[in-house]
């Protein structure tokens, strides 16, 4: 599973283990995950004042990863010599 699922499972990877690698690499945060993410941050030991900044970084991260994942389909991967 991806980072976000693990975190949303309150740090217990066993709760989400079972997804295959393809799912883990393909999945990134969806808008519907946001409320659960906020709740998870709130319950964690993260200082409250950092939560808004972390949420912004989560959005940037999800957008950048998705764009890279999409562009990767057409990226000119070189041949292995």
């Amino acid at each position: 599973m991806s980072w976000i699922d693990i975190f949303l499972a309150d740090g217990d990877p066993h709760k989400v283990y079972g997804a295959d690698a393809k799912t883990a690499l393909s999945h990134m945060m969806r808008p519907s995950d946001f409320p659960r993410l906020i709740k998870a941050y709130w319950k964690s030991d993260l200082p409250r004042m950092l939560i808004p900044a972390f949420l912004i970084l989560d959005l940037c991260r999800a957008y950048a990863y998705r764009k890279g994942f999409k562009d990767g389909a057409h990226f000119p991967w070189p041949d292995d010599p």
Binding site: W3, I6, F7, P13, H14, Y17, D20, A21, K22, L25, S26, M28, S44, L46, L50, A53, F54, L57, C60, R61, Y63, A64, Y65, R66, K67, G68, F69, K70, D71, G72, A73, F75, W77, P78, D79, D80, P81
Partner: protein
């Protein structure tokens, strides 16, 4: 088996000062690798390692950048150690790193333990470092309830593998020219050969994250690119 020898492989590209700092941190460890192979992957100014007592450093060079995966392969092929340790030029080694990594590898050799991944903490205290640290982004987590040390893949910022396993798996996929995805692909190659991986919390390095939003986004863009490569080439057949 005799005490395994250790080769440390580090690719670098245009990060002379960070590379120097990493080598100094390795020179200060209580246990040092038998050899350190620095692969200068086409830096604008060729890298020259500082002279450090007790550390045998060799610098290899690619004339143009080829990517960290291919650079690591170059370092491995020029090295001789039974155990291959990998880290990145923006990391700092913490004491106990080499002992804990190699002891765990040695204890699992007969059972098919192919590689171990260590802890990766943040060097800085800025917002980006705290984010990486909080999410432990460069540290695979144990995933198997029955085997609480097992991790699904290795991250090259901090991992060690047996040479024989590396060779059987064919090394890193040289077709990935960026940093991102090459370690997942390598782990899949190893797993295909029925090797497994374990986490060694005591084997710790610190990673310097660049405190800029632009670099943060570029990093995850590269991870997305590499992730797509791995999905298409390794997981879709």
């Amino acid at each position: 088996m005799q005490t395994p020898s250790i080769s440390l492989i580090i690719p670098t590209h245009n990060r002379r000062e960070m590379m120097d700092d990493l080598l100094r941190s390795i020179a200060g460890l209580s246990k040092k690798p038998e050899e350190v192979m620095v692969v200068d992957d086409g830096s604008a100014t060729p890298y020259q390692a500082p002279s450090l007592p007790g550390l045998d450093v060799r610098v290899l060079r690619h004339d143009s950048p080829t990517g960290p995966g291919k650079a690591r392969n170059t370092g491995v092929h020029a090295s001789a150690g039974d155990i291959l340790l990998f880290t990145d030029d923006d990391c700092i080694a913490c004491d106990g790193w080499i002992e804990s990594m190699t002891e765990r590898l040695a204890s699992g050799r007969e059972s098919g333990l192919g590689g171990c991944g260590g802890s990766v903490g943040a060097f800085g205290k800025d917002l980006f470092s705290r984010y990486y640290d909080f999410h432990r982004i460069l540290e695979p987590r144990p995933h198997d309830r029955a085997n609480p040390r097992r991790i699904p893949y290795l991250v090259t910022a901090n991992c060690g593998v047996w040479r024989h396993a590396f060779m059987r798996a064919g090394g890193f996929d040289g077709r990935i020219p960026t940093a991102g995805g090459e370690d997942a692909a390598f782990s899949m190659r190893m797993a295909k050969m029925n090797y497994y991986f374990e986490h060694v919390a005591e084997a710790r390095v610190l990673h310097r994250y660049r405190p800029s939003l632009s670099d943060f986004c570029k990093t995850f863009y590269r991870y997305g690119l590499g992730g797509r490569y791995v999905v298409d080439r390794y997981l879709s057949r």
